[in-house]
């Protein structure tokens, strides 16, 4: 089983954004791997393991698009256990979902993975489009917002659950396929390859930390630099951001001393009860 997993760096979501001249100033941003992509890496690794710390079978290839600095995040993914990485040079701020999907499609055509795993959205752009556009362009089935995933023993299909507005949907897709992961995917028993891991296999309820051994091993693993020109992809965005602005700020209100005061204010002042 060969799995391609996409990794995007995002500015630390806990830091306050700086606005200036209709733009967001990211010059001093501290970058980290998008949380959902970290979950995607964890998912891909579990699909190649017999259980926590168990034997591995298959290959996990991490892919990112961005400037040279993204090598730092990719090195972290290799330290988690991914086998190798590909870094497509580009200006990450100038890419939209379409451009990214075209790049990933070109890499899929070269690498021919059985499965592409993505985070359901990047927490900076919040677009939630790349996986679906990629699947559409490839003509592959898609399974979005996964809460769990079981890869069939023959490696030809996967059965997943997706948390949807109406409840939980169970879907089966033929491989090759594109899947995007949601929060629950890191539950202890959420992911397994039936041919590799038994029903009792479980992992920690979080993406794994890189061990010292993993960090040492990652230094020897390959990060292949590829240019957009080599890939032959036009990465011009179809969505242009004309301007950014800060949203209207809410003012902190009053502290009340008691439940009686609170309910009286909600009833008499705010008139919402």
């Amino acid at each position: 089983m060969k799995i391609l997993v996409t990794c995007k760096r995002v500015p630390n979501p806990e830091h306050k954004l700086k606005f200036g001249g209709g733009k967001i100033d990211l010059a001093s941003a501290s970058w980290q791997l998008n949380t959902f992509d970290e979950y995607a890496v964890e998912t891909a690794l579990r699909l190649t393991e017999a259980g926590k710390g168990g034997a591995r079978s298959g290959e996990v290839v991490a892919l990112s698009i961005g400037p040279k600095d993204v090598g730092q995040q990719l090195r972290g993914v290799l330290a988690m256990g991914a086998d190798r990485a590909i870094l497509i040079g580009g200006d990450d701020a100038a890419l939209d979902a379409w451009a990214v999907a075209r790049v990933v499609k070109a890499v899929v055509e070269r690498e021919k993975p059985d499965l592409v795993v993505l985070g359901k959205q990047a927490v900076d752009g919040d677009s939630n489009q790349v996986g679906q556009i990629l699947a559409g362009l490839l003509g592959w089935p898609q399974a979005t917002f996964l809460a769990s995933m079981r890869l069939a023993a023959d490696g030809k299909s996967a059965t997943v659950t997706r948390e949807v507005d109406a409840g939980v949907e169970e879907k089966r897709v033929r491989l090759p396929a594109v899947v995007t992961v949601d929060l629950r995917i890191i539950a202890k028993k959420a992911v397994r390859a039936e041919g590799l891991a038994g029903a009792d296999a479980e992992w920690d309820e979080s993406p794994r930390y890189a061990s010292l051994k993993g960090i040492m091993a990652a230094k020897k693993k390959e990060i292949k630099d590829v240019t957009l020109a080599e890939l032959g992809v036009d990465a011009a965005p179809t969505m242009k951001v004309l301007a950014y602005e800060a949203p209207p700020q809410r003012q902190a209100g009053v502290k009340v001393a008691s439940v009686e005061e609170l309910v009286a204010k909600l009833h008499n002042e705010a008139k919402v009860i």
Binding site: P13, K16, L17, F19, I24, W98, V123, D124, D126, N128, Q129, G131, Q132, I133, L134, A135, G136, P141, Q142, T144, F145, S157, T159, E163, V164, D165, A166, G167, V168, E169, E170, R172, R174, A177, D182, L183, R184, A187, T238, M239, K240, V241, L242, Y244, E245, A246, P247, R250, A252, G253, V254, K255, V256, V259, L262, V263, L266, A270, V272, I273
Partner: protein, 320 residues
């Protein structure tokens, strides 16, 4: 400019209320684009929804077929593409529900069209406002190309009031290829008498501080007393206290009720992204330094164990 096509989600009774704000956004865009508003309904046994959609659009295209019974992106996205061509549409809209988020980008891929997700305002035929960075930035975006796709933030537009009498056209559905995808089952959330989270006038949400799922019972009591919907923070969902479909936030549901009561929720950025648009925000938390108090109109520093039973008693007095 061409027509504006709005994807209307259907249930057995009619158009889902989830889709009504997308029809409003569609009408605004049709005005900008100078084209007609056309609705599209997909599924099996959706005649009631088609008739319902005709109250909101000039024309309704209906893809009613047993092969489309399951809401699969693989089979539904091509019908949206067919509908765009049939309607001569220059825009395709739908609500950013779990169905819309799954299907619309795939349709955009098949159309070769750019897409704006989660739009909160229509500025022009291909210009929109949308939140990014967990709602901490509002982007003004322009989509290139001859067709524009957008998903609509449900709470940013009023539900369409109707009043139209559109023509319903049943389209003969051609060959359908699910590409090896199949719906195995839908385990629906137990139907409750409570309103939908995105439409409720009151939302009561619990966070990590609730500690266990069974402690949400007392929040449910308050919720029902206020006729509201129950929500939760990502931390509470992650910990498995409540199902993920109750999650309010950047990666969950976006709500904008008249009254939002945050109980034992710290107020992480990603939670605030889902509820900052509420009219009145109440925070109840034992720690006075939590960031939730910075956005709350009324803050009460107390434990939920003490505050919520007292609040239930007080509200009962008012409600008589």
């Amino acid at each position: 400019m061409g027509a504006v096509l709005v994807f209307c989600e259907a249930d057995e009774k009619g158009v889902r209320s989830t889709s009504l704000p997308a029809l409003t956004a569609g009408a605004a865009l049709a005005k900008q684009a100078g084209g007609d508003l056309v609705a599209v309904v997909i599924g099996q046994g959706v005649a009631a929804a088609a008739a319902d959609a005709a109250k909101h659009a000039k024309r309704v295209l209906v893809y009613d077929d047993a092969k489309l019974a399951a809401p699969l992106a693989e089979t539904w996205a091509p019908q949206l593409v067919d509908a765009v061509k049939r309607a001569g549409a220059s825009a395709l809209l739908g609500t950013a529900s779990s169905t819309g988020k799954d299907i619309l980008p795939r349709a955009a891929a098949l159309l070769g069209a750019g897409m704006a997700s989660d739009i909160s305002a229509v500025l022009g035929a291909n210009r929109f406002k949308r939140p990014a960075y967990a709602g901490n930035a509002i982007e003004e975006v322009e989509i290139g190309g001859s067709v524009v796709v957008a998903s609509v933030r449900q709470t940013a537009f009023a539900p369409s009031a109707g009043g139209a009498a559109g023509a319903v056209e049943n389209v003969a559905v051609g060959a359908v290829d699910a590409l090896g995808a199949e719906l195995v089952a839908l385990h629906a959330t137990q139907k409750s008498a409570r309103p939908d989270l995105s439409e409720a006038k009151v939302v009561v949400s619990g966070g990590r501080g609730m500690r266990e799922g069974k402690n949400f019972q007392i929040l449910e009591e308050l919720t029902d007393l206020l006729g509201g919907a129950l929500g939760a923070s990502r931390a509470a969902c992650d910990a498995g206290m409540v199902p993920n479909d109750l999650q309010v936030g950047q990666t969950g549901r976006v709500v904008a009720p008249q009254l939002y009561i945050a109980v034992a929720i710290s107020g992480a950025i990603q939670h605030l992204a889902g509820m900052k648009g509420s009219k009145v925000i109440v925070a109840i938390n034992k720690n006075p330094d939590e960031p939730i108090f910075q956005v709350a109109d009324y803050g009460l520093v107390d434990t939920w164990e003490k505050a919520i039973p007292a609040m239930i008693a007080e509200v009962k007095k008012i409600k008589g």
